[in-house]
């Protein structure tokens, strides 16, 4: 089955649960295992939360969530036009966070990487960030 869903929403924290809920519903027709569904929800939650809190902080803008299914291959893209990441390698390091004062664990990228089959990060300071994740369901 091939299908896609493209959405945009403002960077509000209420949209974190909306985004992971959309992802869960989107893959439901494939009857995924409970664990796979949970993994996808968690990875989407991480990427969208990052776009909201690091990408836009308190500024306005749009977060884009794209879900794409080709057969049983899911591709998730989360895009923001916010702050961008200076050093992507460093940002992906487990336990690295630029905001330790807020009790962040710095585990977002590590979770996306291990809960999905692949993770790609494109980013440039001042231009925004796109995170693409794939998983076979």
């Amino acid at each position: 089955m091939n299908n896609y869903l493209k959405t945009q929403f403002p960077p509000l924290d209420i949209n974190e649960s909306l985004a992971r809920g959309m992802a869960a519903f989107f893959i439901l027709p494939l009857d995924p295992s409970v664990e796979d569904a949970e993994d996808v929800k968690t990875a989407v939650s991480e990427a969208v939360t990052n776009a909201i809190i690091h990408g836009y902080r308190d500024r306005s803008g749009a977060v884009e969530l794209e879900l794409n299914l080709e057969g049983r291959e899911l591709t998730v893209t989360v895009r923001d036009s916010g702050a961008g990441i200076e050093d992507i390698e460093r940002a992906r390091t487990p336990m690295f966070t630029t905001r330790p004062e807020e009790e962040r664990s710095g585990m977002g990228f590590t979770i996306m990487e291990s809960f999905m089959d692949s993770l790609e990060v494109e980013s440039a300071p001042g231009c925004g960030t796109a995170v693409t994740m794939k998983k076979r369901l």
Partner: protein, 113 residues
């Protein structure tokens, strides 16, 4: 969300429910920290048996409480049911720091050991 606090002698139990993400974590942190301080108990148990979802914000919340409680000389223990949260708790390094128990009573016993 916070369901309730339970007074268990030398331990305070915070019963959480629903989803722990960036949105809910900051309010949870504040309520738990205030109650823990007011209770003047050394130990803290986070009962996660009714938590349906958790992301890295939950890891941050747990590790933050672990730091507070251990620096005050107490112990932190978790009540976790089923396998749902285990994967993220392991990946987040929580299982290396904190004991996981099947329910809050056993988590309280663990603190008192």
């Amino acid at each position: 969300m916070l369901k309730e606090f339970i007074d268990c002698g030398r331990a305070l139990v915070a019963v959480l429910e629903g989803e722990i993400d960036q949105r809910s974590a900051s309010a949870l942190r504040e309520r738990i920290d205030i109650e823990y301080e007011l209770s003047r108990k050394p130990h803290l148990v986070l009962d996660l048996t009714d938590v349906t979802f958790m992301d890295s914000a939950g890891i941050g919340l747990i590790i933050g409480r672990w730091k507070n409680v251990t620096s005050a000389g107490g112990k932190l223990a978790l009540a976790v049911a089923g396998h749902k949260l285990i994967k993220i708790l392991e990946l987040g390094g929580v299982t290396r720091l904190v004991k996981l128990c099947p329910d809050y009573r056993r988590a309280v016993e663990e603190c008192l050991r």
